[in-house]
């Protein structure tokens, strides 16, 4: 970031705002891990960071390095694509592990199967 000061103002402001927005969204997502009550609710919190949190940060990076090096720098797009493709794998793994354990323990809150069953009267 040695040449960051050379950046023209009309680029520096959007870059700063995007970095800030990405960081705030990711921070809120992490806060959610503390604040939300149940395990399945907490599953949702980090996806703030993996969706628009990372999108804002990557956009800022593309903008910054494209202007600084005076050429289009877009390999950040790869990071975005790989994150989007790989998060469902982890999420399903963790979610299904929790579901399996809860079903084994006979928890009433979790559905017994993916197909809906009529609630016992």
């Amino acid at each position: 970031m040695s040449h960051a000061a050379d950046l023209p103002l009309f680029v520096a402001i959007p870059v700063a705002l995007l970095v800030l927005a990405g960081a705030v969204l990711t921070l809120i997502g992490s806060l959610g891990l503390i604040r939300l009550k149940s395990f399945y609710e907490r599953l949702h919190a980090p996806t703030l960071g993996t969706s628009f949190g990372i999108a804002c940060t990557l956009l800022a990076s593309i903008l910054f390095f494209s202007v600084q090096q005076s050429r289009l720098v877009v390999h950040e797009v790869l990071i975005g694509i790989l994150v989007v493709i790989t998060t469902p794998v982890t999420l399903m793994l963790v979610g299904r592990a929790a579901l399996h354990r809860d079903r084994q323990e006979g928890q009433q809150e979790v559905p017994p199967s993916a197909a809906p069953t009529s609630p016992p009267e």
């Binding site: 390999h75 469902p88 993916a114």
Partner: protein, 161 residues
């Protein structure tokens, strides 16, 4: 043609990815990238015979737009739920009946639902097509099932006929 390039789109994507990672189009890395792209296409052909047919590009673009708007909206909604002081949300499991069976389309649906905060793909029953979702802030069960069926499943069935 199909012997050498069984999956032209996949090979092209691999090649572009290689060039992006190297950030150059000079002949050396390009040659390595081309070899990798060819090998990747062959490996995929060994894994799964049959190439998915893609529907109209317009449908792909429209779905991308819809998904981006929805992700932005649900980002704000989930941020509000996390930051609000009192418990103002009602989270629950939702059962959704899907007609979608194409594995690639299901994978893309999983990416969409995971990338959108507030919905988490938990379990899928491939025989009867029941999808078990967990939704963070649920107005009512039926509306969610309809949103997924109309906003995502229908365009995906158009893209992967």
């Amino acid at each position: 043609m199909s012997r050498i390039l069984p999956h032209p789109v996949v090979s092209a994507a691999l090649f572009i990815m290689w060039l992006l990672m190297n950030q150059t189009v000079s002949p050396g890395p390009a040659l390595v990238g081309a070899v990798l792209a060819l090998l990747g296409g062959w490996a995929l052909a060994l894994l799964r015979p049959g190439r998915p047919r893609l529907g109209p590009a317009r449908a792909v673009l429209r779905l991308t737009g819809v998904v981006l708007v929805d992700i932005a909206r649900s980002n704000l909604a989930v941020a509000r739920v996390i930051l609000s002081r009192q418990k103002s949300h009602y989270s629950s499991f939702v059962h959704v009946q899907l007609r979608l069976r194409n594995p690639q389309a299901l994978a893309i649906l999983a990416c969409i639902l995971t990338a959108a905060p507030g919905t988490a793909w938990i379990e899928f029953d491939p025989e009867e097509g029941w999808l078990l979702l967990h939704v963070l802030d649920l107005p009512d069960q039926d509306s969610w099932a309809h949103i997924i069926q109309n906003r995502y499943e229908k365009p995906l069935m158009e893209i992967f006929p």
